[in-house]
Structures are given as C-alpha cells and as structure tokens.
Symmetry: C2
C-alpha cells in the first residue's frame, strides 16, 4: 500500500504515525510518498506512478485534504495505464485505477466521495480535471476530530467551497427536480448554522461533524441528480487564484459567487427567490421578487464576511486592470461557460467588475 | 443472467419484453423466473437458487418492486453460499452474493438502493431480514414512466412507506446530526408536495420522478447517518398486515405512525416541533410546544387521508379485540422495540388503542 500525504501537518498532529501503527497492527505493508502541495502537480504524480510500478503497489491511501486525494487518484489511475496519465486530464475517461481510500483532514473539496481529480501539469501549468467511477474512493474515514487543528480561516474557506459545490448544482435550467432542490437547501441550511460554531471553536465536534459530512454529500453528486448544473463560478474563480497565488480557492469563491449571482439572477428570479426564502429566511417580496434576491445576495456576503472571508477584489488584492487578462484567459469552448446561463468573456468581465 | 419478476403486470405493460429485447440486442443470454408475490416467500428463492446452480447464472436482474428485488437478493446470496440461504435471514451477515441489478417499477420499498432484503419463510411464515453490502444493487434503473400505470392507491401506499422510512431515521435520541435532520426534512417536504400530484395524475412525470428518487434516497441510508434510528413502527405495522392480509404495508403504516407519534412525542417535544415547523409549516407555539406537535400529527393524518389512505383501525377492518394478540406476538428481545423510545407489549397496546 502507498500512503500519500502532503506537508508537515499530518506528521505534526501525529496522524501519520497513527495511520502507520494501525497498518502495522494489521500486518499491512506500506511505503509512503509525501509532498503534495495545494493545487497538486504532475511531477509528484509521475514520481508516485514510478514508485508504484517499482514496488508493485496495489492500493493507495490518501491522508490529507482534497489536493492529496486528487494526487492519489492520479497515481492510482496512472499506475494501471500504459500511456501517460495526463491523457485522463485531457479528456480520456478513467475506466481502471488502483483502489483509492482516504483519511480526510480538511472538509472542503469533497474529493473523498467524488469520482473526480484535478491536477496541474507543470509543463505550462495547465490545471485540468479527470473523472471516472474507478476514481471514487473505496472508503473514506471522516473523523471530525481531525479538523480540530485547522486554522479558522481554512475552516471558513472549506465551508465556502462546500457551499459553492451546492450552488453550482442548485442553479440549473432543468425543471422537475424539487427533491434535488430540497436536498441542496438542506446542506446549505446546515452549513449556515454550523460554520460559525466551527470558526468560533474548531473543537466543536458537532459542528465539525456536520460540516465534514455535508462536504462529502455536497460533492458525491447525490444533490446534483437530474440537472444540468452550472460550474462557471469555479472557472471564473480559478483565474483569480491562478493570478494571486496566496488566494485560497474558497476565498476566491466568496468573492466571485455573489457577483455571479447578481449578474445572472434575472435568468430565473424565482429560483433565486426560492433559495432566499427557504434557506436565508428572507421574507418573499411578492410585489417585487427581485428585492428578495438582492437581499439574499447581501445576506450571503454578510455571512461569508462574518466567517472572516473576503468578498471583494479589494480584500484579496486583485485589481481592475487584471480583469481583461483573466476574462480572456478562460477557455469558453464553442458554447460558453456554465449550464445556468451561458457566459463569454464580456459577461465574465462584468462579473469581475461587480466584485471590485 | 436471471431475470426475476413478479406477476402479470410487467408482462402486461410490455416491460418484460422490452428488457428481453434489450438484452438480446446486446447478446446477453438470460433465463427468467417469475411469480414473486408481495411479501416474497422462501419457496421461490429455493427454486431460484437451484436454477442458478443448474444454469450457472452469474447475475440477477430484478424487474419489479421491493418484493421482487428482495427475492432476487435472496437468490443472489444463496447461490454463492454452501449452506441454507435462510441462515442470512436468521442473522448471518451477507458477505458474498451474485451481483444484483434492478429495473424498478414501484417507488416504495427502497430496496433498489439498500443492502437489505426481507423474505418470509413458508415454514412457520417467519418474516425476517438479511443485510450486507453485497446485497446492494450494482445498478438500478429508475424510470419514472414505469410508475405511470400504478393504481392510485398503490402510489399512495408507496409514498407512505417512503415517508415512514424517513421518519424511522428522523426520530433518534442522538444529537449533533443537523445535516441528517435537514436531509430527512428535504425528502418529506418533497413528498408532501409531489404525492398529491402523482395520485391525481399518475402520468405526471415530474411528480413520479421526485417520488422515485426520494424513495431511493430515503432508504439507501444516506439520511440515516450518525443516528440510532427507531424502526418500532415497522414492527408494530407488520402485525397488522400479517393479521389482515389485504392491508398493504404502506396503508398499515398510515394507521400506525400517527398513533406511535402521539404515544412517544413527550420523549422529545422539541424534535417533533422541529419537524412540525420545518416540514409541515405549523407555526411554533412557544408557550406550549406540545400544541405544535399535536397539530402536526393531525396535519399528517389529513395529508394521508387526502391521498386515499386509511388512518385508523376502523378503516382497515382491524378490531380492538385483536390488540392483545398482536401486541403479544411481537418479539421485543431483551431491550424492547425501537431506538427512540423503548417499547414493550403494554406500550404497543396503547399505541394500537390510539389508532382505533
């Protein structure tokens, strides 16, 4: 078995040792490969694949957060593939991989329950995703106590990432999906209730348990069934954190999402009003439902700010003069970005401007 | 592959032929075994196992509702087991089984997503359950159009069964499970909204789609994570439908559940009040929260009655003089029935009396 992990935190907290002792007690042989960074890179994946070949590894255990898990998935797929693992990140579906399991330390990315992996190729710093049921972990250990040592800001970023995974699924042009709407709303309501408790006291077991489980459910796609989904905000955010290295993905999403909502809500005012009344408890303005939506967007910004997250370009050091470059750097394909409302560079510029 | 099915309805609707044509188009060899009855029996399971051995079957496809799926699971486990398949229904965990898949025709039992199976042994008519991850279907086809031909009463019974699966998980002594509460509430709110549409017009695709998906999510245990769960009402109902053969499980639950709620709610008034306000939109009575709960129980009975379901002994032909026999026939074990509040024969008699 290969234990795959990131930096020093799993060693510092004693988790790495606990995992090793547990494997030894069961007589399971292992070797380990650390060094995964946020936005995991191809270099370490190639190293992991070579190691798995050499040592005939048949199982990959990721101990860490989303980056570690994504890197482990890449190694697992690449080890049983004759070609370059990067093929999967250029669109080839993953049909076979070593089994991957996880010990999750950061509730955020949802990779512990998803069939997806995102890796950045060091040649050109291309950040791409691969997918396939073979990448879904065979089991994941979600122990809320492992989140007790996270910095408060990282807890907040994780919550924002989880909320964004739900929003991306909630905003859809499809109809007839009340059950999916309700499940999405259930997760959001939970996060709004529990996140302030976890940020106030990271050792609040109940809050961390709810957040950790919500993070898995938010992204294993059970709350995405029956819909087109959107995902443009993730792409719009990516340019921000690509340009400003010290902006966490979750923080970037806190900046982008309210601006995206403000730009697109007229496409389906009633869907936004439904979210506003059911989750954010904004009273419905029946004369002018748009007021309900605008009040919700403000409430969302207040909520994220209360967790210590930035909600504007100014707060993360992004600048108006970066907007054209970022908007034009996104790949829009033939159909534009997003499933809820198609966006092109001109639209994305407006969204960035709204976030100034 | 073995196609396993029930009575004439899948033949009448053309579904059986469609499945066969689809398998033939893919060059998949199959044989078939029909005749599953509601409350599936051991006799047909033994026949199925013998057939699978003789024909070297390696895959079981259930085409039907919960009974057919449960019977298919029993065959799948028994075929790869040296002993009597009934061992699994007497408590032996199922660790190996042929892969089972399903084409679901009745949203109700949730067996299409669960690791469980309930079969009745003809020797003594013992109704027992088996469980094990190996019994979880490898895939299930949930096509809402297959529910279009269901009788309205059966749709209503199915909805009641699904709601009961959620209630059994909602009422728990465990704390710190807000996310599970919210997911349960999401399903219940959806069912309350969609069921009347499906009963009014069984060809309402959206309503049937929501109900069908809610039925799977309600019982694959994603809404049961982190809790003890209750399940006493299922046992209390079982005696009713065992005594009165023509009472459907869902109809029996509509009679039992409000009476159970009335009997146990004082154990945790606030949990019931939470359900009342969040799902049934009953205004909270802060001076006397019990009023909120009692109003919800009445609302629930009204709702089930509006779907055409019975909510009292009188409506299903059960009699007061049956109560002692039924209550004393239940197996209470050492710890009593149920995880929310422990019940014994005396308590169950009271619950039956409340349902008169």
């Amino acid at each position: 078995m290969l234990i795959h992990y990131g930096g020093g935190s799993v060693k510092r907290t004693g988790l790495y040792d606990a995992v090793c002792r547990s494997l030894e007690a069961q007589g399971i042989e292992y070797l380990s490969l650390g060094g995964v960074r946020p936005n995991p890179r191809s270099g370490l994946v190639y190293e992991g694949i070579a190691l798995c070949h050499k040592e005939k590894v048949d199982f990959v255990l990721a101990v860490g957060g989303g980056s570690t898990i994504d890197s482990a998935k890449a190694i697992a797929a690449g080890t049983v593939y004759d070609g370059d693992f990067w093929d999967f990140y250029e669109g080839k579906p993953v049909e076979k991989a070593l089994p991957v399991a996880t010990v999750l330390t950061i509730p955020a990315a949802g990779s512990e329950g998803s069939p997806d992996s995102v890796v950045t190729h060091e040649d050109g710093m291309r950040k791409r995703g691969a997918t396939g049921e073979a990448l879904r972990p065979v089991f994941s250990i979600l122990n809320p106590e492992l989140a007790f040592t996270l910095p408060k800001y990282q807890i907040a970023c994780g919550v924002c990432d989880i909320m964004a995974h739900v929003f991306e699924r909630y905003f859809t042009p499809t109809k007839d999906v009340d059950v999916t709407d309700r499940l999405c709303e259930a997760l959001l309501a939970t996060l709004i209730k529990e996140a302030p408790k976890a940020v106030l006291n990271p050792e609040d077991y109940g809050a961390q348990a709810n957040i950790m489980w919500a993070g898995m459910v938010a992204h294993n796609n059970i709350v995405g069934v029956g819909r087109v989904q959107d995902w443009s905000s993730h792409d719009i955010e990516h340019e921000l954190s690509a340009l400003l290295f010290d902006v966490a993905h979750g923080a970037g999403l806190a900046v982008v999402f309210p601006a995206w909502m403000r730009y697109v809500y007229k496409k389906d005012v009633m869907r936004f009003a439904q979210l506003a009344t059911r989750v954010f408890m904004i009273p419905m303005d029946f004369e002018n439902p748009e007021n309900t939506v605008l009040a919700m967007i403000e409430r969302l910004k207040q909520f994220w700010r209360s967790l210590g997250l930035p909600v504007s370009f100014a707060e993360i050091g992004a600048k108006e003069e970066d907007i054209d470059f970022m908007a034009e750097h996104i790949s829009y394909g033939a159909d534009g970005l997003g499933g809820f409302m198609k966006l092109y560079a001109e639209n994305v510029k407006e969204i960035y401007r709204t976030a100034l």
